[in-house]
């Protein structure tokens, strides 16, 4: 039986004004893009709490894509700079946890750049595919108790 191709799970956090709009247009214009990226809409990339990224990795994401307006074009004027700072530091942290920093990607995609969105989605999917599965739950946390059970050890006199 032939080796099955690895299909990465990717979570994308998209800002409402730029990248989400771009992704929307890309869809409406029937641009070719992989199904691997699951999108979560936030008003601004500045809303993306590193907690969300770690949560995504913990729950099994192989890659996380955070995308917002171009620097200077943020609908909220500065939010995306905060994102830039956070993701830069977060990448450094991920490395310490043995997660390739490339699994977390930050992109600036304006609402006008639907083709860029489609291309980034394709590229990143391939990039993560090349990195291989992360599957945190299934490998790193494999065998660790998650929900504590209550039982009494049998007592032998």
């Amino acid at each position: 039986m032939p080796e099955e191709r690895f299909e990465p799970r990717i979570i994308g956090f998209l800002c409402n004004w730029c990248t989400y709009a771009a992704a929307d247009t890309a869809g409406v214009s029937r641009m070719k893009q992989p199904p691997n990226v699951d999108i979560i809409r936030v008003m601004c990339s500045g809303r993306v709490d590193p907690t969300f990224v770690l949560k995504a990795f913990r729950e099994g994401a192989d890659g996380v894509l955070v995308a917002g307006c171009h620097p200077g074009d943020c609908h909220y004027s500065e939010g995306n700079y905060k994102t830039l700072r956070r993701m830069t530091l977060l990448r450094k942290l991920l490395e310490q946890f043995g997660i390739e920093p490339e699994r977390l990607r930050l992109e600036w995609i304006s609402s006008a750049e639907a083709p860029k969105w489609a291309q980034v989605a394709r590229e990143f999917t391939e990039q993560v595919r090349a990195l291989g599965p992360l599957n945190w739950k299934g490998t790193v946390l494999a065998g660790l108790p998650t929900t504590a059970e209550h039982f009494c050890p049998e007592v032998s006199e």
Binding site: Q96, P153, V155, S156
Partner: protein
């Protein structure tokens, strides 16, 4: 054949285990002392900013976090090639002295005293601090508690927190003290000195005054000649905070005197498959297994060792008591050293406690002690450093190697109790052989006598294994020749 160790219930029997094997004659064939814990601090120190180890390593042991805090702080001074301002050094030693006052008191009154004050054969349920208080009366009990409370308070004032202090920094101490704080600290130091004298008086009355105990202290079962290690000042007086490490041989002659940076040339640690703890020994003498004497690298690092390895105490009252102890135990006025009586360690501990109190008083009344200049900002590139202090349970060595940004690449820790792993194992075997005889019923009391040999070292295997758990309850399992368990006793130790 039923294997004690694999039955999940019996495995619950504790964190340290003494396996005593009897031969056909019912005499002690062999004794194994097993430490089932490992901490891995050396590993996860890697990658940390070295100055953070000052706040991380205290978690090796919650009983003597101050010792690790201080060893780490000194190691960091060395790593950054920085010399703290005089007042910073004084504050550190002052802090450290109060810690000794409380730690030694904790051990003597809460752990050791039950054996002496209540007696080895007293009912289990009473052999604890509350029992002591009932026996010696609330008045003394109250003094003990007050002493502990006040010395903890002093440690907290100086170190920011009493358990797991925070004030140490490469190049100094994060916090100067105000005149108001100083006055309170002086008050505490004065009472600590009185308490030290009081405790010694108690020891003389209850222990030395009691022939049975004195005989036990002097008995063969509790004599073990080994090398002795301890930190000494330039005048070879006992010092806890700083100086050179001095080792004397069983005859009391200086074997080696080294500075912290040279420790690797002196000490090595032997790995055995049946325990998570390594056996340190003197490299130059070599590893001959679990035996004492001049030809074995086994050494001890305990209060008694420190006294044996020194030429006396740096403070008057302690010096007096120091001379008295050697007179008593060697039977002549020459003050011949060393003495090998394991149980004398308790006496030595009280002498050290008195010294610590006296030293604290000296420092807290030093005119510079309130000087606000307590920091030197390091400027040199960090490299490598070793910090050594005397932990109550033995010489404590921290050794860090960093990259040019001061991130730890390698760490090595040889902690107080570890030094004494081998001698404890030997003492246990001796004691076992001394008390277990064919046909003698093995009572709780008998086993407790074995533990007394153990307890004299005030072993803290939280430290020893840099593993957690801290306090280690001990299990004594006696197997007959067929491997059957014929007796078992266990207790929590502190």
């Amino acid at each position: 054949m039923k294997k004690i160790s694999i039955d999940p219930i019996t495995r619950l029997e504790g964190h340290g285990r003494i396996d005593i094997f009897l031969n056909e004659e019912g005499e002690v064939e062999n004794v194994y002392f097993v430490i089932p814990e490992l901490r891995g601090f050396e590993k996860f120190a890697e990658g940390r900013p070295v100055e953070e180890l000052i706040r991380i390593t205290p978690r090796i042991c919650g009983v003597c976090p101050e010792a690790h805090h201080m060893a780490a702080t000194k190691a960091c001074d060395a790593v950054y090639h920085v010399d703290p301002p005089p007042t910073a050094k004084k504050l550190r030693e002052l802090f450290y002295s109060y810690f000794y006052c409380s730690d030694h008191a904790t051990h003597f009154y809460i752990l050791a005293a039950p054996d002496f004050v209540l007696g080895p054969d007293a009912p289990v349920a009473e052999r604890n601090i509350l029992g002591i208080i009932h026996k010696v009366g609330l008045e003394l009990g109250g003094r003990v508690i007050q002493h502990l409370a006040e010395t903890h308070e002093a440690v907290a004032t100086l170190g920011g927190k009493d358990i797991h202090p925070v004030a140490g920094l490469p190049g100094g101490w994060s916090k100067a003290i105000t005149e108001e704080e100083r006055r309170r600290l002086e008050e505490i130091a004065r009472r600590a000195v009185e308490f030290g004298q009081l405790s010694l008086k108690l020891f003389h009355d209850i222990v030395l005054g009691n022939k049975a105990y004195l005989d036990m202290i002097l008995s063969e079962a509790f004599i073990l000649p080994t090398y002795y290690m301890g930190l000494v000042d330039p005048r070879n007086k006992v010092n806890f905070y700083d100086g050179m490490v001095r080792v004397v041989d069983p005859d009391g002659n200086e074997f080696v005197k080294y500075s912290p940076a040279e420790y690797q040339g002196v000490v090595a640690e032997r790995v055995v498959p049946y325990s998570y703890l390594k056996f340190p020994y003197l490299k130059k003498v070599g590893w001959k297994g679990l035996v004492g004497g001049k030809d074995s690298g086994v050494y001890r690092a305990t209060p008694l060792s420190r006294l044996n390895a020194s030429d006396g105490m740096a403070t008057p009252l302690a010096q007096e008591e120091y001379e008295r102890m050697y007179e008593t135990l060697t039977g002549d006025r020459s003050g011949r050293k060393p003495v090998h009586h394991t149980l004398a360690t308790h006496w030595a501990r009280l002498i050290e406690m008195l010294y610590a109190a006296e030293r604290a008083l000296e420092l807290v009344t030093d005119p510079d002690i309130t000087d606000p200049n307590v920091r030197t900002i390091p400027t040199a590139t960090p490299t490598e450093g070793v910090g050594i202090v005397e932990a109550p349970r033995g010489t404590l060595t921290h050794h860090y190697i960093t990259d040019e940004r001061g991130l730890v690449r390698k760490a090595n820790l040889i902690v107080g109790t570890t030094n004494n792993y081998a001698p404890i194992a030997i003492s246990l075997k001796q004691a076992a052989q001394g008390v277990i005889r064919k046909g003698v019923e093995i009572t709780e009391g008998i086993l407790n006598r074995i533990e007394m040999a153990f307890r004299a070292y005030d072993p803290c295997f939280a430290c020893a294994t840099h593993a957690l758990p801290g306090r280690m309850p001990l299990e004594v399992v006696v197997h007959d020749a067929s491997g059957e368990v014929v007796a078992r006793a266990s207790r929590g130790l502190d």
